[in-house]
C-alpha cells in the first residue's frame, strides 16, 4: 500500500505509516514498559500517553471511559496489576484459544 501510494500518488502516506506493524509494536512496547514500572497498580494509557496510575480499579475505568470521548485518536487501555495479567495468560488455554478447530 505504501509503495502504491508513492508510485501512483493515490494519497499521503501518513496513513500507511500510522498503520505499520512496527509502529503498533513500538506503542505496545511503550505501554508495557510503563506498566512494568507499576506492577501493583492499574495503568491507563492512550497510545503513549499515560492518563492515570492508580490502585483504585473504579477510578482507572472511570478515566478509561472518559478517554474514549476525549477527541484524541487511539484506543485507551487499562493495564491491570501484574498478578492479574499473569492469571489471564495462564487461563487462556483450551478450545477457546484454538480457533482452527472450528473455523
Amino acid at each position: 500500500m505504501t509503495a502504491t501510494c508513492l508510485v501512483w500518488k493515490l494519497g499521503p502516506n501518513t496513513f500507511d505509516r500510522a498503520m505499520r506493524p512496527k509502529t503498533i509494536q513500538s506503542v505496545t512496547d511503550a505501554q508495557a514498559a510503563v506498566a512494568d514500572l507499576h506492577p501493583s497498580e492499574f495503568v491507563v494509557m492512550k497510545g503513549r500517553v499515560v492518563l492515570e496510575i492508580t490502585s483504585d480499579k473504579e477510578r482507572a475505568f472511570a478515566v478509561w471511559t472518559r478517554a474514549w470521548a476525549d477527541g484524541t485518536p487511539g484506543e485507551p487501555i487499562v493495564i491491570p496489576p501484574l498478578q492479574e495479567r499473569l492469571l489471564l495468560r495462564q487461563r487462556l488455554a483450551g478450545r477457546g484459544a484454538e480457533p482452527w478447530r472450528r473455523l
Binding site: 475505568f61 487501555i77 487499562v78 495468560r89 478450545r95 473455523l103
Partner: protein, 175 residues
Amino acid sequence: MILLREEPFRVAEARFHSGGGSDAQGLVVRVFVRFGKWAERAELQAEAFIDPGADVTTFRRSWFGRFTAVASQPTPWVSGDPADKRGRAVSEPFEFRFGTGPWLEGPVSTIERADDRDFPGHEDILIGRDFLTQNGLLLVIDGATKTYSLLHPGDDANRGTRERIRQAITDDAQQ
C-alpha cells in the same frame, strides 16, 4: 429449574464469516446479556455457543459494536496486557439469562477478542467451562437425538437427576 430443555443442535444465526458450513451444528443458543454499567444495563441478545471444551468464556468484540445506539462507549470495561494479543479481560461484571430463567453471574475470567479471525466459530459469545462450573450447571448432551439440556442446581428434580447419574457411574465402576 431447567434453563434449557432439549434444545436441538443448531448453527448460529448471526454469521460474520462467509462460507460457514451448515454442518457445523453445536450447542448454540440465544442468550440475554446484561452488563453492570455498560449499555445502561440493557438486556442485549446474542448467539452463544456453549463449549464445555473451552476454559474461558469469550466475547467477540464486533458484537459490542451492534449496540452503539444504547452504549456511550464502544465496549464494556476491558483491560489487558499490551504484549498479549490473544485477548483482553472483560473487567466489568455481567450476567447471562437463558429464556425466562434467572440471571446468572458471568465468570470473572471472561475475555474478549478484538480480531474476528481469532474467534472460534460464528457466534457472538463462547460460553466456556468457567461459567458452567461457577454456577454449578449440569449440561446434558444427548447424541442420539442431537439435543442438549442445561439444568440449574437450585431445584430438587435437577439434584435428583444429578445424583442418579452419579450413582449409576459409581455402580458401573464397582462392577
